[in-house]
């Protein structure tokens, strides 16, 4: 007797289009490709003198951030504004939870203000699923990061970065280096890479930063950076949080850099044209040395640009799928 799993179907409407964007899990290769294609079109919009299209004119996007993140919130805000939506930013970490209002009530209130879309970041894994399933299923919910679980726009902006620089995923070797255990970016990247046909995904970290059951992602685990970097096409470095030095996961930033920090010398083990990526903000001298972060192979700043296009794409697609679903529901009532 098992629960009916709704997590995978929750984000698609009856026609298989995106209506919420919660996780890479359960999305087909075709759908991920559609997101990348749509983002390509939005990238072109970003290069015009008027960087704005009227697609979401008159609609309201609420950025509801229960965890502080200026960067992610800003790129979502920019994406929504370039789609001509009205944007409201709510930094809940400093407002209503201190008054004891629950997540449930906070979002119900926003829904009553006729918000069309929620962009949610929350410290609890599954928070975006919870909102999409139980709080406001008729509002398109975009996951901007939930606990350790998922950061699907970061995942897809990483894919857009790789596709624009490398073309296809099938022959690529991609290494993800650092704190896999706590990283929602790593989880989203592993799922997206696999779905898009990448067959050589490597994760590189000490055992204390690798989750139990990592094999399910179809990745190879390396504990030695040099071995893991050998001939890879893409290196994705993860941010190391300072608090990891507490709970005995690592002795020090210094020792981590000595063993797993990306230096010019180590990068030379990868293919000569290997890309260096990082979700930011970077800790110079902890996971990556400045010469690499600012070097010719680094596409870290391109990722930021692509991130806006990816966010425009999923905002537009989810809004579209949600509208279609509402239409379908209305038609079936008649």
């Amino acid at each position: 007797m098992l629960a009916l799993s709704t997590a995978q179907t929750l984000q698609l409407n009856d026609q298989g289009q995106l209506r919420h964007y919660l996780s890479i899990d359960g999305l087909s290769r075709e759908l991920l490709t559609e997101i990348l294609d749509t983002a390509d079109s939005f990238l072109e919009v970003g290069a015009r003198s008027v960087k704005k299209v009227p697609l979401l004119r008159g609609m309201t996007v609420c950025n509801v951030f229960f965890e502080n993140s200026t960067r992610t919130r800003t790129t979502f805000e920019l994406a929504a504004k370039r789609l001509s939506a009205d944007v409201i930013n709510l930094d809940i970490s400093t407002s209503s939870t201190s008054k004891g209002e629950s997540l449930f009530d906070t979002l119900r209130n926003l829904e009553a203000m006729a918000a069309d879309m929620f962009v949610v970041r929350h410290g609890d894994s599954g928070a975006a699923h919870f909102i999409a399933e139980h709080v406001c299923p008729d509002v398109a919910v975009i996951n901007a990061g939930d606990g350790r679980h998922s950061h699907p726009t970061q995942g897809m902006l990483d894919m857009l970065t790789i596709r624009r620089h490398k073309g296809d995923f099938s022959g690529l070797s991609v290494a993800i280096v650092g704190d896999i255990l706590h990283s929602r970016v790593a989880r989203s990247d592993m799922l997206a890479l696999r779905t898009l046909g990448c067959t050589d995904i490597r994760v590189i970290a000490p055992k204390s930063l690798i989750p139990v059951g990592i094999e399910q992602y179809g990745v190879r685990v390396f504990h030695d950076l040099a071995a893991g970097l050998k001939d890879v096409d893409v290196v994705i470095m993860l941010r190391l949080q300072k608090e990891r030095m507490q709970g005995g996961l690592l002795p020090s930033e210094g020792e981590f850099f000595r063993l797993y920090g990306l230096t010019q010398q180590r990068l030379a083990l990868a293919k000569p044209d290997a890309l260096v990526m990082h979700p930011g903000p970077i800790n110079r001298g902890v996971e990556i040395e400045s010469a690499v972060a600012d070097g010719a192979q680094s596409v870290i700043l391109n990722q930021v640009t692509y991130g806006i296009a990816i966010r425009m794409a999923v905002l537009a697609m989810a809004m579209s799928g949600q509208k279609t679903q509402r239409q379908l529901d209305q038609d079936s009532e008649v």
């Binding site: 079109s41 939005f42 072109e44 299209v53 979401l56 537009a316 579209s320 509208k323």
Partner: protein, 174 residues
Amino acid sequence: MSQTLPTPAELIPALAAELTAHLATRGVTQPKFVGIRTGGVWVAQALLTEMGHDVATLGTLDVSFYRDDFTQNGLHPQVQPSALPFDIEGQHLVLIDDVLMSGRTIRAALNELFDYGRPASVTLVTLIELDARELPIRADVTALRLSLPADQRVKLRGPQPLSLELRQLGAVTD
């Protein structure tokens, strides 16, 4: 289908001739050509070839982000980037589409064009103009004016070869 339509191959030379005459009348010497994806681009390519212009100079527009039916129909799943290989500021543009019906696509295309800059003029060319306008937009140059029953549509198929077909509304489309 009672009505048989001419082939685009039969219509293009006349369209080219009329456009050349039109541009001459207006004193436009260095026009920039822009096709609206997908059918408009095919017509534009045929037209440029007929007129002896380099097809590579053609700009393409995908108006998906500018459509006014997003709330009804959602986003087109195969949206592609628009690509204008020239600066449109102060230029005389020739905007090309396959079929002018309601005028809504042209409205969206004009809005999109103006987000690239301020052209000196825009001339609208369509292969076919239907008597079904919903907006005050007319083609400057067209090869064929048609009047269809409310439940019929005309569709351009392509790219090689181009052909026109009549469709009954409600019939299965692809």
